[in-house]
């Protein structure tokens, strides 16, 4: 912000209202936090997948239901769903300027929750074997 005052608003009030979108760097920061979490989680996830290759259902479910693997994949699922929720919102906001924008942003939210919850449900079921 320049020193030249172009509005009556004080710099403090600008900061309080967190800029034109009223959210400041909130969205940006959440995207970074989830991306940092996803770096190690993605690496472990890939290693787990390699370990599951070629195994039948019985062996695969046993591995997927073990605490370390289940918790790691759950964390991966939560971080991924959150990260892609934020990411897809930005993509929609960048390219969609019609009335469809809000609908698509809503669909994005629903999709991420459905995917996230489905994966978590499956992993809980595999862990507790109900």
């Amino acid at each position: 912000m320049s020193d030249k005052q172009t509005s009556m608003r004080t710099p403090l009030s600008r900061v309080r209202y967190l800029g034109s979108a009223h959210s400041g760097t909130d969205h940006f920061w959440k995207q970074r936090v989830s991306s940092v979490a996803l770096v190690p989680l993605t690496i472990i996830f890939v290693v787990i997948i390699i370990g599951l290759l070629g195994r039948n259902h019985a062996a695969a479910t046993q591995i997927l239901g073990s605490p370390f693997v289940a918790i790691t994949i759950m964390l991966f699922v939560i971080a991924s769903a959150y990260h892609m929720w934020l990411g897809m919102q930005v993509i929609i906001e960048d390219y969609v300027h019609s009335d469809m924008k809000l609908t698509l942003i809503m669909c994005n939210t629903f999709f991420c929750f459905v995917i996230g919850l489905s994966c978590l449900y499956a992993l809980v079921k595999l862990s507790f074997g109900v």
Binding site: S35, V39, T42, G51, A60, S80, C119
Partner: protein, 136 residues
């Protein structure tokens, strides 16, 4: 406001079309495309996990699809998209700290993510095929 107004034709700021294509620009676009692909790719992960939770019949169907030519191609692309987006993300995290913006550095970083993602994807698949043969 009674009659409809035509939007005023204002000059637009220069956009993608007028710039020379550079590697950093390409990788920026690819980062977004891989992100979008991974968004829809989670459908496969959800299907796979739900099938594992459902039982052997459902899991066999997933395994049959993943083992088919189309399935393997999708998985290969998925692997590359995942690794590329991850490495691209690390590059962005480095840039977020204010480092790596020099003319040589940024080119080097960008090229490294591309070469790294291709190399790691191939490595993962080589290891994967060894495991598939060995750990059955």
């Amino acid at each position: 406001m009674a009659h409809t107004r035509r939007p005023i034709e204002r000059p637009l700021s220069p956009h993608l079309g007028i710039y020379r294509m550079t590697l950093t620009m390409m990788m920026s676009i690819v980062h977004r495309i891989t992100g979008g692909a991974l968004f829809f790719g989670t459908l496969l992960m959800a299907w796979w996990l739900l099938a594992a939770a459902a039982g052997p019949t459902a899991y066999a169907k997933v395994q049959a699809f993943m083992g088919s030519i189309i399935g393997l191609l999708i998985l290969f692309g998925y692997t590359w998209a995942l690794i590329h987006h991850m490495l691209g993300g690390v590059r962005h995290l480095i840039w977020d700290t204010g480092r790596g913006f020099g003319p040589a550095e940024r080119e080097w970083l960008t090229l490294a993510t591309l070469i790294g993602s291709i190399g790691l994807t191939l490595l993962i698949w080589i290891v994967g095929f060894i495991f598939m043969g060995g750990a059955r």
